[in-house]
Symmetry: C3
Subunit: 142 residues, 3 copies
């Protein structure tokens, strides 16, 4: 039920994501798939990691743009921007939203492709933009 | 502090989960443990991935069923089903709840068993059911 | 673009975390970095896993302590401690908060260091303390 292969070390890839709004979800699926394709890895796991504290990464619908619009509107209601926070930068809500959404995603690689559901896209979630952000991608071959 | 082993490729397992309510948490621990046992892997990591956008996976208490009841009731309050959403399918709340709970879990495999706390179970979280869903399980040996 | 290496099996490390308040975020970055350093692994992935149901792990800012204070205050508002819950232990809010924040983090290891953003720390999140807790750390070499 398997084949042997050398374990290869592949350097973590740094992708750039430039956000243009305060709260924004940027579809980064194609950038990540490109990194997977260029790696030549056919089977494995892709770890996507956000090295920030006021941005996150998630997976969600890539078809109707109103999903992202509703998602953004509602999470901003659930975690209000102002609420007697003490943190001097004034962006505590961004810190909490990021932890709620999460700083990494693990996506299976199968036949050289990210194994995503038909409606799934990978989204960089900006919560204190606009900024120039980084996204780390580590590809590990089986 | 180690032993050498061949790195084997194991195809990602597709499990079926049939949900029977609009919002529901289904304990899938046994199904996943069965997949781990059948793989023969003794030490490694099990990645559980949900290829949907209105369902998620989490870990939580497997003893008192009221935990799941309370969990479901409260998350439905925090993310209301109706709130002026635009998405034509009307299920934006399910999309947001899924991202808040998350689309994957990583569980350590030790001595052929999922290394879970004594009260921990793995739950498939349906937020727009009832539906026939898939759950992907990738087992990677150390 | 790589080198071969033996795949080594490394036993999962058990760390102790003693919490001293009901809701608390404990910075565990140094403990985990120490485990990575002692393992000798230069490149790989570190999985941090919480084997509990009323505690979690996240990544957030390690500079201004008011971030953690605000984070804790706001999540306790979003998920109220009392809300007609049925679970006899009375800590359903802790169960939900833990699932929202999450039970594991995956951190890339590069040059023997946890690859974290400059302001990122790894936090054990206690939601029903004070207690003596465990944190599992699995280090996998590329």
């Amino acid at each position: 039920m398997g084949r042997t292969s050398e374990v290869k070390y592949m350097k973590t890839i740094r992708l750039n994501v430039k956000t243009t709004a305060h709260t924004q979800m940027v579809d980064v699926t194609d950038q990540i798939q490109k990194a997977v394709t260029e790696s030549g890895v056919r089977e494995g796991i892709c770890t996507v990691f956000v090295p920030h504290t006021t941005a996150a990464v998630t997976i969600n619908e890539n078809a109707d743009p109103d999903v992202v619009r509703d998602f953004t509107m509602e999470i901003n209601k659930i975690v209000p921007w102002e609420d007697g926070y003490r943190h001097m930068e004034g962006n505590s809500a961004a810190h909490l939203k990021s932890s709620m959404i999460g700083f990494s995603e693990q996506v299976i690689i199968e036949d050289g492709r990210l194994l995503l559901g038909v409606w799934q896209g990978i989204y960089f979630c900006e919560y204190d933009g606009p900024r120039s952000r980084k996204l780390l991608v580590k590809i590990r071959e089986d």
